[in-house]
């Protein structure tokens, strides 16, 4: 099949960008979306033009490096799927596909479709960990963790940090990302000692990065390639209120 691409091209940060049209010809359904872009890039290189820059690494939906807004939907039309696992069979001959980078004040565009997501690392630095020095751990089975709790914690921990939640949110909020990390750790007994500090500090770090606030649209959950539920946002709201109620935080 042949498709027309409208790809956001931008030479560097803080430079003007715009859509450039490309024809992708001879595309087959078994190609992944990124492989389709690879073939377009091969053509560009052959012509001596700079290829379209886009982040990607594992190409099996787990590293969280890739992420494109495809026809107005982060990661494209397939539910619970990263861009790298989106296949061209979901498109039709003659389609026009518009490709844009994540847009958020905290994710500045670096080049073409690549954005800087280091803000996520800084949110984690604010408390997205359990302070346990190497070697100081107690025997693993000393603290039982009820299976439903471990399962819910795992539901949150599957976050791959791709940023689709921010990209999809009408407010550019990072609440789903932040809540997934707080939820993962605060649900576990091992994470309880620091739960209030974690909740307050990570939320404050999120806001220091200028991400927006949540207004409960649920777009993040729909865009999330791991389908992480906004239940974790409610959970974090509770943790946050708990922090102020008990005043057990710094």
């Amino acid at each position: 099949m042949n498709v027309t691409l409208k790809v956001w091209r931008q030479k560097g940060p803080n430079q003007p960008g715009g859509f450039v049209e490309y024809k992708a010809e001879g595309i087959i359904g078994d190609m992944s979306f990124l492989e389709m872009l690879d073939t377009v890039n091969e053509g560009l290189v052959a012509k001596g033009e700079p290829p379209i820059a886009f982040d990607n690494d594992c190409r099996e939906g787990i590293c969280g490096m890739c992420g494109l807004v495809i026809n107005g939907v982060p990661h494209g039309p397939s539910k619970g799927t990263t861009t790298c696992e989106l296949y061209m069979r979901h498109f039709h001959d003659g389609d026009t596909i518009v490709i844009e980078p994540w847009r958020s004040v905290a994710f500045p565009v670096m080049k073409d479709l690549i954005v800087d997501r280091s803000a996520f690392d800084r949110i984690v630095q604010a408390g997205g960990y359990i302070s346990c020095k190497t070697g100081s751990a107690i025997e693993a089975n000393t603290i039982p963790v009820p299976k439903p709790i471990a399962d819910r914690s795992m539901d949150a921990a599957t976050c791959i940090g791709c940023g689709a939640c921010v990209a999809a949110c009408p407010n550019g909020s990072a609440m789903l990302f932040t809540s997934a990390k707080i939820g993962h750790l605060n649900l576990l007994p091992q994470g309880k000692p620091e739960r209030f500090n974690r909740a307050v500090h990570m939320i404050e770090a999120m806001e220091a990065e200028k991400f927006g606030g949540c207004t409960n649209h649920g777009e993040c959950e729909a865009a999330c390639p791991k389908s992480i539920s906004i239940d974790f946002i409610a959970f974090v709201n509770r943790e946050y209120m708990g922090a102020y109620w008990t005043a057990d935080f710094e």
């Binding site: 939320i203 949540c214 409610a234 709201n237």
Partner: protein, 255 residues
């Protein structure tokens, strides 16, 4: 108070304040709607006075005498008004500040607009229904509480009559009906959102949150618009007050 400043500075703090003030409004509109339904209840004999009055008027008067003697006459209403105004100020301020904050979060918008996947019409229009409701509240207070507009027919104390007379005019009735539909839009997202923000959440039972929001939205909206519709449709009868009084008729006791 340092902690409050810190709490309020965060978006979560603002949202929680919006949710708590939302709870207050929810309680208020529900009770208000309940009270309004007295319009359908007709009259009642006030035993001690030996007079007939409209149930609506008795109810309105009761709001002023409620809590006596601990509270003085009308005090409860003033407390409620104070709480409601405070809640309104907090609700609106937080909303405006969140809106400003969220606007800054995406200075360069998508050149090809995002396609909504799950968000509802109601959620997307909160920033429109909110200000509209605010205008409506001002109008409503000037109309029924202070009697400053449509004042030709307003008589202090004759609540039943004032409502009846106001809704005789079709376009006033229409304003109120439309406003209540906007209220419904705001509640549909607001009620669910309030539960979500306050962390009232259990992944296994979350279906109930949406049901709760829809059910109460319907109850409140239908309850409110029943009155103007009832008057326009002639279901609610015309008032018959004694001149300059809230009394309809004197009861013949036989004594």
């Amino acid at each position: 108070m340092n902690w409050f400043v810190r709490f309020y500075k965060s978006s979560l703090g603002k949202k929680i304040i919006m949710a708590v003030s939302g709870v207050i409004f929810f309680g208020f509109v529900f009770l208000h709607m309940y009270g309004n339904l007295k319009m359908f209840m007709g009259t009642e004999l006030v035993e001690g006075l030996g007079v007939y009055k409209y149930k609506m008027d008795i109810y309105a008067e009761h709001l002023r005498t409620f809590g006596e003697p601990i509270l003085t006459y009308g005090m409860l209403l003033w407390i409620l008004r104070f709480v409601l105004v405070l809640a309104l100020v907090l609700h609106v301020t937080s909303a405006v500040q969140l809106w400003l904050m969220n606007n800054k979060a995406r200075p360069q918008n998508y050149a090809n607009a995002l396609k909504s996947q799950v968000t509802t019409f109601f959620a997307r229009t909160m920033y429109y229904t909110g200000p509209l409701l605010f205008l409506y509240i001002v109008y409503h207070i000037l109309h029924f509480t202070t009697g400053d507009i449509h004042s030709s027919t307003h008589i202090e104390g004759q609540v039943y009559g004032n409502v009846y007379n106001a809704f005789q005019t079709w376009w006033i009735a229409l304003i109120y009906i439309v406003a209540m539909i906007f209220l419904g839009f705001h509640l549909q997202h607001g009620l669910w959102s309030m539960l979500q923000t306050l962390g009232i959440n259990n992944p296994k039972r979350n279906l109930w949150r949406k049901r709760f929001a829809t059910a109460f939205t319907l109850i409140i909206v239908l309850g409110f618009i029943a009155v103007p519709i009832g008057i326009q449709a002639g279901i609610i009868p015309e008032p018959h007050y004694q001149p300059n009084s809230t009394v309809i008729a004197y009861h013949e006791t036989g004594r």
